[in-house]
């Protein structure tokens, strides 16, 4: 019965959630997007070194077994669609990540919204985020849902604050990031600020030591913030910025300090993509994680994929931010913590 009491307790939040999902779909159709139903079962999942796909076994009618994984994001399938000529696509559905906490801001299955625009620069995706959130928020307010109100700190979202990562470091930590775009410099900076990083630590990890301790906590009081242009070593699947050397076309969206979305001006260079994937394989191997073959279909897709920008946004967290809800469990029909620990 504790499942039912959970649902009863969170009825207002789950009602908000249902409307948020509907409003997202509405907005994308209005904007001329098609919904992409990417497969959740993959033979070759993403290689991100810090994600753990969930393994499963699929059998055909003769009982032959195929190893497969649940997707951690619909990214590869959607980029293949871009390569095939789809120009504006969104996907809204569950993704799965193993080895994550049950509750807080994580749940092993969660709802991801991804969208891509062919031929668009990544500033266009920032505009999308602002307009989509305005549509969702304004529509919710008009509904006057019982038991729900927009938290005070959320009411003043508009306009979003757009800030370069470089500016944020200067403002919040007094550091000129331009001087710390290389691993050795960042390592020295960490040490000078009292951290004790390992000699081998990657740029990204060093960066996050300072960012998470000294900068991210300040974002909690800043409302809606888009942080853009990340140092090149943190490009992931983003392309390098031509206008701002040393930085990549990547941005993240924070709502009252909660990390909501991650966006890229997408990398479309097949050779560079393969190089990065092979690098990530090595990292996975070193970390003792499952290593997957490079999806050659994906690499080939990049040959015909047009310039594009895209973003992944956590829908459960959006509902949290819209409701001032601290624990993701309260916006889920049945959170993993209830299934496994109750």
């Amino acid at each position: 019965m504790s499942h039912v009491t959970h649902l009863a307790k969170n009825r207002a939040l789950l009602t908000v959630r249902a409307h948020v999902v509907r409003l997202i779909r509405e907005w994308f159709w209005q904007e001329g997007f098609l919904e992409a139903e990417a497969p959740q079962i993959l033979r070759l999942p993403g290689q991100e070194p810090h994600l753990s796909p969930m393994k499963l076994a699929v059998h055909d009618e003769r009982g032959r077994e195929y190893a497969a994984w649940l997707h951690t994001s619909p990214e590869y399938a959607m980029k293949k669609m871009l390569a095939a000529g789809f120009e504006r696509i969104f996907a809204l559905g569950k993704v799965f990540r193993d080895y994550e906490s049950f509750g807080g801001t994580h749940n092993p299955e969660f709802t991801m919204l991804e969208w891509y625009r062919a031929g668009a620069y990544f500033y266009k995706i920032m505009d999308d985020v602002e307009r989509l959130l305005a549509h969702v928020t304004d529509s919710l307010l008009r509904l006057e849902l019982p038991g729900w109100s927009l938290p005070r700190e959320t009411a003043n979202w508009k306009p979003f604050k757009r800030v370069r990562m470089r500016e944020l470091w200067q403002e919040q930590a007094g550091v000129n990031l331009d001087e710390y775009l290389e691993r050795e410099a960042m390592l020295a900076l960490c040490r000078s600020r009292g951290y004790a990083p390992g000699v081998e630590e990657r740029y990204e990890d060093l960066f996050y030591r300072i960012f998470l301790n000294e900068i991210e906590p300040r974002l909690a009081d800043m409302g809606a913030v888009i942080v853009h242009h990340y140092p090149l070593p943190m490009a992931a699947l983003a392309r390098a910025s031509e206008a701002e050397p040393g930085y990549a076309e990547r941005f993240e969206v924070y709502l009252n300090g909660l990390e909501l979305a991650n966006a890229f001006g997408e990398l479309t260079d097949p050779a560079e993509q393969r190089r990065r994937l092979i690098g990530e394989q090595a990292e996975r191997r070193a970390a003792g994680k499952d290593v997957f073959d490079v999806d050659e279909e994906f690499i080939e897709a990049l040959v015909t994929m047009p310039d594009a920008s895209g973003i992944a946004l956590g829908v459960d967290r959006l509902v949290q931010a819209l409701s001032g809800c601290k624990n993701i469990d309260d916006v889920l029909v049945l959170p993993m913590s209830k299934l496994m620990n109750n």
Partner: protein, 189 residues
């Protein structure tokens, strides 16, 4: 010495020359970068809280603590008295160490006192505690359409819990001490 997997409520950590007891922590995995553990902890010398973010797998200077099985006896003003189950010695713990968990304490509940150098730095409750329902308004049938499938009930120690409408006075129920939620009837699987 330990690593981030040793971070839990009540863990004692040496950080920049001071000792801290962990009051809360949260795992964060940005997906595109390493995972981290955001840790909120309170200084054992000044009582001030700080928030430190550790990278997953990072070495954390955890300090050996002693875990003693204790039984809760009674409250006396701001002090809560417990008895050591082995030595029968009693031990007083002040309210600020117990915090919100105090609402779950009831006579006879067994807890684990986390000790550092003879001092209680945290009290760990059982995950679920059994209570007798002393007050529960009678159920109003047919009201579930309005969402009223739970009602507030009062436990034998005064704790208020939302319970399903079919729970009656005198029943034994289990309450989850992490969430404060009804977990099930005692004895139910």
């Amino acid at each position: 010495m330990g690593d981030t997997t040793d971070i839990r409520k009540g863990a004692v950590i040496r950080h920049q020359g001071d000792l801290f007891v962990v009051s809360n922590f949260q795992f964060v995995n940005p997906g595109k970068g390493s995972a981290f553990t955001k840790t909120k902890m309170k200084s054992l010398t000044t009582g001030k809280s700080v928030e430190i973010t550790y990278k997953s797998g990072e070495t954390v200077d955890t300090v050996q603590v002693e875990r003693q099985n204790m039984q809760y006896l009674y409250r006396n003003g701001d002090m809560y008295s417990f008895m050591n189950k082995l030595s029968y010695e009693t031990l007083d713990v002040d309210a600020s160490t117990i915090g919100d968990d105090a609402q779950y304490l009831k006579d006879g509940v067994e807890v684990i006192a986390i000790m550092h150098e003879e001092r209680v730095v945290a009290v760990e409750l059982p995950k679920k505690i059994q209570y007798t329902v002393t007050q529960a308004p009678p159920a109003v049938k047919g009201d579930t359409a309005g969402g009223n499938i739970t009602k507030e009930a009062i436990m034998d120690n005064g704790l208020k819990v939302q319970v399903p409408i079919f729970i009656k006075e005198g029943e034994e129920i289990l309450v989850n001490t992490e969430t404060g939620e009804y977990s099930g009837r005692a004895g139910e699987k």
